[in-house]
Amino acid sequence: MRLTLSAEDRAFREEMAELFTTVVPQEIRDTVLEGGELTADMIRTSQRALADAGIAVPHWPREWGGRDWSELQRHLWHEEMQRAGVPSPLPFNTSMIGPVLAQFASQEMKERFLPPTANLDIWWSQGFSEPDAGSDLASLRTTAVRDGEDWVVNGQKTWTTLGQHGDWIFTLVRTDPDAKKQRGISMLLIDMTSPGLEVRPIELIDGGHEVNEVWFTDVRVPGENLVGEVNQGWTMAKFLLGNERVGVAPVASVKRMVARAKQLAGPQLRDPLTRARIATLENDLLALELTALRVVAHSDGGEPHPASSVLKLRGTELQQAATELLLDLAGPDSLVPLTAESSDAAPWARRSAPTYLNYRKASIYGGSNEIQRQIISRTILGL
């Protein structure tokens, strides 16, 4: 048992704090810190700055830019990044397709794709979900049929986050229609400028446009763009989704939100019910952060700790609670739209309702909270 970080980890943490606040432009970090919306260029700029500093993809294999850090160090990296208001490196690149390619792709494919992936010279989109599948990913219907050396892809993906900026899309396709559900699925990398590929925006209830449908009509994909072997896609998907759950607790960003709420609350902090609500939320966050620290301490060099599901489940609950707190603090000012030409209501207050609505997705995407409860009850509790 030790309460504190080792001298080494403490130094590491300070180094990260220093790096994040120096290499990433203040303007970008302020946008994050104030809950504003990032442009695609800001995300690119930030990730390239991290890549230059060698801290964009620390969890990748060393030869592709990884750092061999301990799980605790990765956690500290992630938390200090959030604390400094640095946008996370694009998860589709660094947490999803990057590790998959590093693990499953041919050497040639790695050399072609990994460096621009780390540097966000390629902006990846994810082509997994389909309209009729929901949490039942394996029931996907998009097909890829062999035609000479190429694959011809037809079908539709949806919930493709930030797909409007995408250069390439990694896609699960059905390559053997006769095989059982999970079998017969392959992973293809598809250039989003290919003829027959169309990205259609989906407007969300917060008025924003962050997800898309991606339609494939006879899209030709060179055979070399197949990752790994044919019909091995489900293995890669599971690998990818397993990675996705690690370090998912958005602790530092929610702490930042609650700290901001305290600043913004003003005279409302005199209301004991508001004080109780904030004090409870702070305590809940503390318990979550300590749990994240326990999990990383026990995850070294192995499978993701099963308690990762606790982090996802509880993390999104608290994230949503924090957005609800800000909304209630904004009160009637929350009714004023951000798009209002001029307003005396503070921008944070006018942003609070769309943010609250937007974060309802947190408990749905990336493995819904029902899926997390299922994992906990099956995997951990043996039910």
């Binding site: 209301d271 000012d333 004023v336 307003s343 997705k361």
Partner: protein, 385 residues
Amino acid sequence: MDFTYDDEQVALRQAVAGLLRRRYGDFEERRRVVAQDPGHDPAIWQQLAEMGALGLPFAEEDGGFGAGPVEVGIVAAEIGRVLAPEPYLASVVLAGGVVAGVGTPDQRAELLGPLAEGSRRIALAHAEPGRRWADDAAEVKASFDGQTWTLSGTKEPVPAGDAETLLVTAALPEGGTGVFIVDGDATTRSTSRAYDGTRVSRVVCDATPATPLGEAGRDATAALSQAVDLARIAACHQALGAMEAALEATTGYLRSRKQFGVTLNHFQALNFRAADMYVSLELTRSIVEWATMVAATGDAARTHEAVARAAVQVSRAGRHIGQDAIQLHGGIAMTAEYLVGNLTAHLTALDHLFGDGQHHLTGLMATLQDHEALDPLAAAPQDVA
């Protein structure tokens, strides 16, 4: 004690429901209307007027139909069910209610007749930036030079503030809060689309000429508060309609949507959450209908308390049902083109329009020792007479 509607009320519900469901039953239609100015359908507004819905709360001598909170609630609930964007709550119930409560007989006839006929909209400009659901006005000030009244200051957010006629509340020179009739175009205002699709405005007065509503210089805080209470109870009905629609959509989705080879209602945990939503909804309906009946007695003090009680429950249930309706649907409910997420957005907006649950609970906390136990069956003297 009777919670059933009489035949006339049932007919009213059917008429309003028929109209609004025809127009907005396809949610895409509602989206289209909300996307363009003025953000609602003037033809529907006219039809509501023709069926008498816009004049319900007003006395016959004022050009209304002499109905009350129960009938207003029926209309509001149907609006909530389909998210009809017509500014019934803001214009008829709230602003109209202020005119009815504060105006002189002449003013009432002048403003409420056209309002009931659908030929003139009015809006109440009361909220001031940064002030939370205050009963009075502070930042907008009224001046009187012996001949004319003028107003200066900013009101925001003003629901449906693009109306022809504004009622602007202002701090009076001698203290207290007055209500003034202001020509909307005489102010500097901008109107935009709120996150739930409704319209809100910012209204700036700068020595803007104004006519006192009711007796000049008289404090209207109490009358304002009563009008707001009646708008609150109508908002509760609007929320109730939205909650009903959210639960219906959710159970329909659970019955029809397949995942892992079976429809979602094979998953007990989801069904149980739907059951909890139903429990919330039924409890809410009870207390809202009760508070409406209390409001119908016209007793302002009892109404204020009853409305706070309903609002506490509506706030909690609206969050519960709104959040879980999205969760049980999954991603599709996050999209703007699907009804359910929009119901949640509207529930959220209603919750912050006239005071959220904590605001009203704080009021109830102060009266905790005024009673031993609550007895909704205890008749007040005037009920028995």
